[in-house]
């Protein structure tokens, strides 16, 4: 991610990033190729790294929730290389605040 893209993402905020990255992932998924899930996971890894780099815990959860609920992306944590890092950084936060995250 270039410095320019980083600045844009920070200025436009997590909501904008959630929808842009969600649409990007949907586009990968809708390619209709056999390797689309592999591409989906590698693209998701790229976005996850960016999210964890740019945004705080609450904003990261908001973005991930948008991916999984609004865009219904079929992300498999076992196939995501960045999921362990995500688990380490925000896993405890999610588990401790399940009721709030689930209902918002």
């Amino acid at each position: 991610m270039t410095e320019h893209q980083r600045l844009i993402a920070l200025l436009k905020g997590p909501d904008w990033y959630a929808h842009e990255s969600g649409k990007d992932l949907l586009a990968v998924l809708n390619q209709g190729k056999r390797k689309r899930y592999k591409s989906l996971n590698s693209t998701a890894d790229k976005h996850l790294s960016t999210i964890m780099d740019l945004f705080d815990k609450e904003q990261s959860v908001r973005i991930l929730k948008t991916w999984l609920t609004t865009y219904s992306l079929p992300l498999d944590p076992n196939r995501l290389k960045t999921f362990d890092q995500l688990h380490e950084q925000i896993g405890e936060f999610i588990i401790d605040n399940t009721a709030t995250i689930k209902s918002y």
């Binding site: 992300l75 944590p77 076992n78 896993g91 405890e92 999610i94 588990i95 399940t98």
Partner: protein, 131 residues
Amino acid sequence: MNITVYSRNRLYETFSKWDVPRDFADPMANYLIYGYEPGGFFTSVLANDFFAAISRSHPSNTVEALKCLVGWINDCMPSEVFGSYDVVADWVSYSPTERRAILERYGLIYTEQEEIMLTLRSESTVEPVLY
């Protein structure tokens, strides 16, 4: 150990399957999840000590409820958790991480990974009804 409502409901589903009453299910769940000492009666039940269990039993405990609990213990409970007083003392002294690993291995609760995904997907879950 902190678990989500998904894991809690998964564990309570097993109680519901065996018709274990809530008065019995709550101490068992607290023992399994948090490592709380389950009290004299339940400790004796878990330690396989019939005489002590009966002598410490509350008058309102019925044979029917005990049969349900024993069925649940035999069917669902990890072998690391019951069998003798030493085993019960060991379980209470385990770290939350060790307890979680065993409960996950026996499928009594979801893995942290699954809990994270279920929460983020806002999957619906229903609390099982216990009598």
